[in-house]
């Protein structure tokens, strides 16, 4: 044994101590890792020895290595050994190592409990102290639970040194073991009045931290803290107390005043004037200062002192505090604009960034230009792209905030954007581009200017693309090309721009930009043709075509699919045009028709206002995700097999390969035996996918019937005429409307925007929806439409054109609606004034049966006579997913000056039709309408009806009870109405192909019936359009004055019509598998035409 000890101490002489290790590491800079691995081997040897001194030395070295990032977790047990040494020297090292290396998942920690407890109760206060210090770093929930009592006892230790440590560590214990808080709290509170200031400050610390987590439990301590605050001389304690009050003030407003002022004082005191603290100790000086720092404004002024200080740190904190005040008191900060602009010149980037943040809140119409000018100067000067990019985004943020609220001159803004494109290497090209697009689309008056600027940009494209590092900025060209193309009528020299867009250099741009170039070159081409064909000399136009034909092949070869596809389409088109030109045919009009229609913005929230149909889960898969190929042909098939759709919708189980193959097989068989599965027909689905407006509105995917764009329908030419007529009528109505509009403007703002339909801007009523705010009189541009387009056309310029076609159709529909209403004898003046409100049509897929219901004469109980208090419009719409459900959309419009609330909708159920009420409601209970109506506001509610048989039309009686609230009184009112479920409303427009149609007729399952209409004077296309629109049919085929039409009921009945016309007589031969449904539908058709 003795020998061992001697040997140990001899060994020790040769051991490296910490200093040797450090020196060694410093001397082995090249092969540090190797050196350290030998050291670790030595340490492992040392740890195997019994000598505690050797072990402690080894552990000490390990602690150092741990800091350098080496893993020493393998030595955890040795650390515990050293911790439990009886000698303070080693214990200290052991605890240090433990506090550095241990964490909650170190498993040896649970071995330490008893050792720590022993050390805590050691007579030597430094043993206790070192244990407490160590514990503060590695306390675990287990340790906290086991040692809470021991530590609590130490809080009343005789030595303040131990007391303060014990108090502080209690906080850690509370966090790990919250149950200990309740028994320990009284003692903790006692410590607030400990004679030793150190212990006192520790207690304040702990209570402050606790209060920050749960302030209301500590409200009772406020008086005590107030006393401490006024008596303490310790800055640290004061800061903590103020923090505590900060946490308490939301609960006790009386504290607020004192806290804000106190905190401000103490926040400044240690830095600004050391003497201020000493004065603030005496209560009298305090009250004086209370008076001084009285308001937030004053605070801001004090902050100014901070910001003006030469100390960077104070400046930064001042700005930081100011940005906090800005949120609540923007006005008070605005007066310091000069100072903040000054800070933009500061050499410290972090201060400049803070100042930039503040700028956002202090722009106004007056100073925007000035501020931006200043920022532009900084952009030029700024070194380093990060700061410059930050400036760029800030400029755009500031200008575009709250819908360009502060911009008075958009020409200026466009030039700023153009200037910004000169920035090298910015990442924010797309940001600038989207601003350009946004402004050009929404501010009509600026288009001419914008187009001119963009044309210049395109002309100088080489400046932007010349350097590969400038890649980010070339996004701007995307916007430029699109704007020039879309608004090409404003171009001064379209030929030059066209030439610029077809330069070979363009091929080096990113694919998506090239695609826009190609597409917009085509638009420009159309414009150029138009201007050139007017001339007598035809060669110019032909030369233009030749230019296109020469340049486009470059893009046809593009590796980018999009570019390639567009280019080759357009190339072929131009070739054809050239052929026509050579025959001296005028083509300009037709070419222009390709791009006819105008884009119009839609409110950003428009989509939200389209209510999600009941039972529709937008997150669920509609079809199983992997079966993409399937879903395409599945959809046409489901037209005839209703049960299939029901199942396939909400399910999104995982499908394995085998299962898939099986399904595919089953499907093939089904298809083979299904006469209605037509492989040769073009997939209707594809067509929709390309139309953005339709595609991304989920409603479409549910209502599988798609009347909007029925493939193969030769209707679009018919619509052109209708459209013309409608516009003329609109023009005639305009004067009347404008008068009304002026009156109703105020009320209309709150009105719902009716989905994508409001894109149409020809009817002035829509203008109100779109342009919800007008620019101030000082503005150069008269108005900004505050609403970006729903279809986000700028991103997909090619598809914009398509969507505008859609629009046309919709417009036609609307027009038809109006026609119909007019003819339906119902007070048509009202419909016109409420054009926007009525369009609850969702994306054109809704089958609406307009039933403007109770007129004022139907509402006997309304005492508010003169302006009719209430108006309802309803759509009845079959639910394809469930053949027995019909959704009725009702638009309620409050036409009186009073507030309508507590509306209750009730219908007297019939045997056949029943209003769906929530579970638990009785069969005669009404449904509460989920909104209230302020004056002039309309809103839509939907009610679901269950219908058993759909072969008969029927009427349901109902009542709407509501409370009319005036300033001084409120009265109950009741409105009776009738809901008319026509058989037509059970029909859903379903496209059908001629071959399928023929098979259907051949099958012989259908019963025939016919009807003759006399004295119909309208042209045949109009007649067809009318049937399509009002009765939800689609045209299958049309030959001269004869057409076949098809529709399908929600319960899957096929309805086929053969319509012929001769000498004002229309004969309709119809076939359907349900004779009574057919006769009712025919009756309804007859009625429609009898009202003409």
């Amino acid at each position: 044994m003795a020998l061992k000890i001697v040997k140990g101490s001899i060994d020790r002489m040769f051991d490296k101590n910490l200093q040797d290790l450090v020196r060694g590491i410093r001397n082995h800079k090249e092969d540090e890792a190797k050196y350290i691995s030998t050291c670790i081997d030595e340490i492992k040897q040392e740890l195997k020895q019994d000598n505690i001194a050797v072990k402690a030395n080894a552990v000490c070295k390990l602690t150092y290595l741990q800091m350098l990032g080496y893993d020493v977790s393998w030595a955890a047990f040795n650390i515990v050994e050293v911790m439990s040494s009886s000698k303070f020297t080693y214990k200290r090292i052991g605890y240090l190592a433990a506090s550095q290396c241990f964490h909650e998942s170190t498993d040896v920690i649970m071995l330490t409990t008893n050792q720590i407890r022993k050390d805590l109760s050691s007579p030597n206060q430094y043993d206790t102290g070192v244990a407490l210090t160590g514990l503060s770093c590695f306390v675990t929930p287990d340790l906290a639970r086991d040692l809470a009592n021991d530590i609590m006892t130490l809080m009343s230790h005789t030595k303040p040194y131990i007391r303060k440590k014990a108090v502080l560590i209690m906080y850690k214990v509370f966090l790990k073991y919250p149950e200990s808080l309740r028994p320990a709290f009284p003692r903790l509170k006692e410590k607030l009045e400990d004679p030793d200031p150190g212990v006192q400050s520790a207690a304040v610390n702990v209570i402050c931290e606790l209060a920050r987590r749960n302030p209301k439990n500590y409200l009772s301590l406020a008086p005590l803290f107030f006393k401490l605050m006024t008596s303490s001389t310790n800055n640290w304690v004061l800061i903590k107390i103020i923090k505590l009050f900060g946490a308490l003030t939301p609960l006790e407003p009386r504290l607020c005043h004192s806290t804000s002022q106190m905190s401000f004082l103490f926040f400044l005191s240690p830095w600004l004037s050391p003497s201020s603290l000493s004065t603030s100790n005496s209560t009298s000086a305090m009250s004086l200062l209370y008076e001084c720092v009285n308001t937030v404004i004053l605070c801001v002024q004090k902050l100014r002192i901070l910001i003006e200080d030469s100390d960077q740190n104070l400046k930064y904190l001042g700005l930081l505090a100011m940005s906090k005040i800005l949120k609540t008191h923007p006005k008070s900060v605005q007066s310091h604009k000069d100072l903040i602009l000054q800070c933009l010149d500061d050499k410290d980037e972090s201060i400049r960034l803070r100042a930039l943040d503040l700028l956002y809140g202090m722009v106004s119409k007056k100073n925007l230009m000035e501020i931006v000018k200043k920022l532009m100067l900084h952009v030029d000067k700024a070194e380093g792209t990060t700061y410059r990019d930050e400036l760029l985004t800030k400029i755009i943020d500031i200008c575009s905030q709250s819908n360009y609220q502060y911009i008075t001159n958009f020409e200026w803004y466009i030039s700023i954007l153009v200037e910004l494109t000169r920035l090298e290497g910015t990442r924010h090209g797309h940001l600038i581009a989207s601003q350009m697009l946004d402004v050009a689309i929404r501010v009509k008056a600026i288009r001419e200017f914008a187009v001119a600027q963009m044309a210049t940009l395109l002309d100088n494209a080489h400046l932007l693309t010349g350097n590969t590092q400038r890649n980010g900025i070339c996004e701007v060209l995307y916007a430029a090309a699109w704007i020039c193309g879309e608004f090409s009528e404003h171009l001064e020299n379209p030929m030059q721009t066209l030439e610029a867009m077809l330069r070979p250099k363009v091929a080096t741009l990113p694919g998506h930009i090239q695609a826009v170039y190609v597409q917009n070159a085509a638009k420009l081409f159309a414009t150029v043709l138009r201007s050139q064909e007017g001339n007598t000399d035809r060669t110019a136009a032909q030369e233009t075509s030749q230019l296109m034909i020469d340049r486009l092949p470059l893009f046809v070869q593009s590796a980018n699919l999009e570019v390639q596809e567009r280019a080759s389409c357009i190339l072929q088109l131009v070739k054809y045009i050239q052929k026509l030109q050579q025959k001296d045919v005028e083509v300009a009009e037709e070419v222009n028709a390709l791009f006819a229609g105008e884009l119009n913005p839609v409110a950003p929230k428009a989509q939200k206002k389209v209510p999600v149909p009941e039972g529709l889960d937008l997150d669920a898969w509609i079809n199983e995700p992997p079966s993409e190929s399937e879903s395409e042909d599945e959809k046409p098939r489901t037209m005839f097999t209703r049960e299939e759709t029901k199942h396939s919708r909400p399910r999104h189980t995982e499908v394995d390969e085998k299962e898939l193959a099986k399904r595919r097989e089953v499907r093939k068989q089904e298809q083979a035996s299904n006469p209605f599965y037509i492989k040769s027909s073009p997939s209707s689905q594809k067509v929709y996918q390309e139309a953005p407006g339709v595609d991304h509105i989920p409603v479409v995917q549910i209502d599988l019937s798609v009347p909007l764009k029925v493939p193969g329908l030769p209707m679009s030419d018919q619509y052109v005429k209708l459209e013309e007529e409608r516009r003329q009528k609109d023009r005639a109505d305009k004067k009347k409307k404008e008068k009304k509009k002026r009156k109703e403007k105020g009320g209309r703002r709150g009105k719902r925007d009716s989905g994508p339909e409001s894109e149409e801007d020809i009817t002035p009523a829509h203008m109100v929806d779109i342009v919800t705010e007008e620019m101030p009189p000082t503005a150069i541009c008269r108005s900004v439409s505050l609403v970006p387009p729903l279809n986000s056309p700028p991103c997909v310029p090619s598809t914009c054109q398509k969507s505008s076609k859609h629009k046309k159709k919709k417009q036609k529909k609307e027009k038809e609606e109006k026609d119909k209403k007019k003819k339906k004898k119902h007070h048509h003046h009202r419909h016109h004034s409420d054009g926007a409100g009525e369009e609850s049509v969702q994306n054109g897929t809704v089958e609406e049966e307009e039933e403007p219901l109770p007129t004022i004469s139907d509402a006997p109980t309304c005492s508010l006579a003169s302006p009719p208090p209430f108006r309802q419009v309803c759509d009845i719409q079959g639910n394809l997913q469930d053949g027995s459900q019909v959704v009725v959309s009702l638009i309620f419009e409050n036409k009186c000056d009073s507030f309508l609330k507590a509306m209750e909708f009730n219908v007297l159920d019939s045997l056949n039709s029943r209003l769906q009420r929530p579970d638990g409601a009785g069969p005669h209970d009404g449904l509460t309408v989920p909104f209230q109506l302020p004056p002039g506001v309309s809103n839509e509610a939907r009610f679901v009806f269950t219908v058993k048989s759909i072969v008969m039309p029927q009427k349901l009686k109902g009542t709407l009870a509501f409370i009319v609230k005036n300033e001084d009184s409120s009265t109950h009112e009741k409105l009776d109405f009738k809901l008319h479920f026509t058989c037509t409303s059970y029909l859903i427009t379903t496209p059908c192909y001629s071959d399928a149609f023929a098979k259907l007729l051949e099958s012989g399952d259908l019963k025939a019936s016919s009807v003759k209409l006399e004295g119909v004077v309208m042209p045949f296309p109009h007649l067809l359009a009318r049937i399509c629109f009002h009765h939800h049919f689609s045209v299958v085929e049309r030959i001269d004055s004869c057409a076949s039409m098809y529709s399908r009921s929600i319960q899957g009945h096929h309805v086929c019509l053969l319509v012929k016309t001769a000498d004002q007589t229309v004969s309709i031969d119809a076939k359907c598998d349900e004779p009574s449904l057919l006769s009712n539908v025919l009756d309804e058709i007859k009625l429609t035409f009898s009202q003409c």
Binding site: C60, M67, F88, R92, T133, F138, Y171, E349, S350
Partner: protein, 160 residues
Amino acid sequence: MRFMLLFSRQGKLRLQKWYVPLGDQEKRRLGRELVQTILGRKAKMCSFLEWRDLKVVYKRYASLYFCCAIEEQDNELITLEVIHRYVELLDKYFGSVCELDIIFNFEKAYFILDEFLLGGEAQETSKKSVLKAIEQADQLQEVRAVYLPRPLIPLISQAF
């Protein structure tokens, strides 16, 4: 306070104290990231930065950076004061402290820090009592020859 780091201008860690329990890897990762961020800042910049969800307060003394990560509600200026107080303590203890003192006597630096801060909160604001506690504890310890390479740049005289 979440943690305190001392590191050299070369980015070498000289001392680390974590008041939140984290795994070694996480500590190393955070430390490396923060050191890089701070070393990337220019000399004239202010001492505060927002980093992740924390605020970082740092100050450079001669070749050594002292850096503390504090929570959103904590006071930046008082943290600067904490850093300065710690440097003063080191200075008093070692007698014009320099970076090498901390490298070679890093356990002492820890002991002082532990007397000054506990669990991330200031434990003792009086320099005198901190030093007294350290001295007394040292007396309990066996006397060991301490190698002190002298004199390099004293930290305290070189506050940036």
